[in-house]
Symmetry: D2
Subunit: 145 residues, 4 copies
């Protein structure tokens, strides 16, 4: 049910570091990389033709994050321009795992794996992803050799 992803180009989303993102260490507060990663995932889904708010309101399903494993490698600062990548690593019927990185110019700031699951809005029980999204995601996956 789950396959490795091959070598196509990553999706990339750019964002600016503002005061709200920093902490008293003078750098981006580490927890905020989870926000940066999510902004990139949201825009990646949108680029695939897919709105989460529409899914929530018309289909009663939403994505929840079930696991995050992130390494923080170098600090980003106020006014930095950060580029966040999204790469599909594994895909099931009701969940997927993404590998994401945050870069500033040529420097890797943070990276990690985010696992998200599709759930029913009311019960929070796992629910199959919409068919059109599953179909779209499958085009991003190549069979492992």
């Amino acid at each position: 049910m789950s396959q490795s992803r091959a070598h196509e180009a990553d999706y990339r989303h750019g964002l600016r570091v503002y005061w709200e993102d920093t902490d008293a260490g003078g750098v981006v507060f580490y927890a905020n990389y989870l926000k940066f990663f999510e902004r990139a995932r949201t825009e990646w889904l949108r680029e695939l033709g897919f709105s989460q708010e529409l899914m929530r309101q018309s289909q009663g399903r939403m994505f929840v994050v079930s696991r995050t494993a992130v390494s923080y490698l170098a600090p980003a600062r106020l006014d930095d321009w950060v580029s966040v990548t999204v790469e599909l690593r594994e895909q099931g019927r009701a969940s997927m795992t993404l590998f994401q990185q945050a870069w500033r110019d040529g420097q890797l700031l943070a990276e990690g794996e985010i696992r998200i699951g599709c759930v029913d809005v009311a019960s929070f029980r796992p629910a199959r992803m919409p068919e059109d999204l599953l179909a779209r995601l499958s085009t991003l996956i190549l069979p492992s050799s």
Copy 2:
């Protein structure tokens, strides 16, 4: 329908400043005083015997903030213990105005007025506050002389 509040003692809620609350200026990010004020309002309502989550789920009503006017007077820092007050200034059927201050020891850090309204969860239209809350709030109000 709305009266001035007299001189009884303020409600007071204490909280610690953590990394999450600070910004690269080395101090509490000003927008976070709105969070501090809200924590104090929530605990004040709880002390009055009132749960917002219960109101939302059982009565389909919730509070929304309609106006905030806050002055930021002195910076707070990591590890500071901040005391936040709540004082009822005006009360109507579907809204109230609170005066709130944040103190560290004898120093005033921030203060302002917060106006909150009771709305229907689905429509966001103004809704009368629950009767038991209205009754409880009225005991906090003294007729202006």
Copy 3:
């Protein structure tokens, strides 16, 4: 020392509403409009040729927010595209007041005045704004008739 601003076009900064911006009411958490307003102010300053991080590191000065007065008029939701304006209302040597609005399509979501002051990074005492910024800002101000 302080003058009214005349009728030139507002600066406008667009942003997307993500999960991080919302609360359990299903809409944007009101305190986050202060973040949205600040993102727009930061980009407005950048457009005027001015970096806050550079000012902080090379001149030892930074902006702090001293007063905010905001009305929250209509809720924004996940995936909404919000346009935030910046308009200089008053300007002194060490402070300025901005009028800002957040719009979604033709609907006004929130608006208010934000007063910011320039301070010394170490002492937090008021400090004159950099000359090049003062010069640039003065071109935005027309004498009141």
Copy 4:
């Protein structure tokens, strides 16, 4: 240099879920568990007699988070009382790994490992932890059998 920790009682820090912690899914925004974990670590360090702000100002060192691995198991909601544990798992001269859990009543909400490193405030290079903290931490570690 690093040893496993044995069976003494966990440190436990309680906190309330407020509006600021939730998202449009009606539950606590997953990234905020990193904040909850950090509040508990901060209070755990304080209980060990140790202030991070003091370390930053008097010794020019601070802790940064270098790795987080968290599983999100059940949703928490507005007004929930959450209990967060801290357990020292590994300790070196300039870093340590903590295992943390968030509970509501008997239900496990989230858990994971957080690795923090001590760095020089200016250079962000690894720095030995203060001796008194190292001494205090070593009393929490039992030799693995």
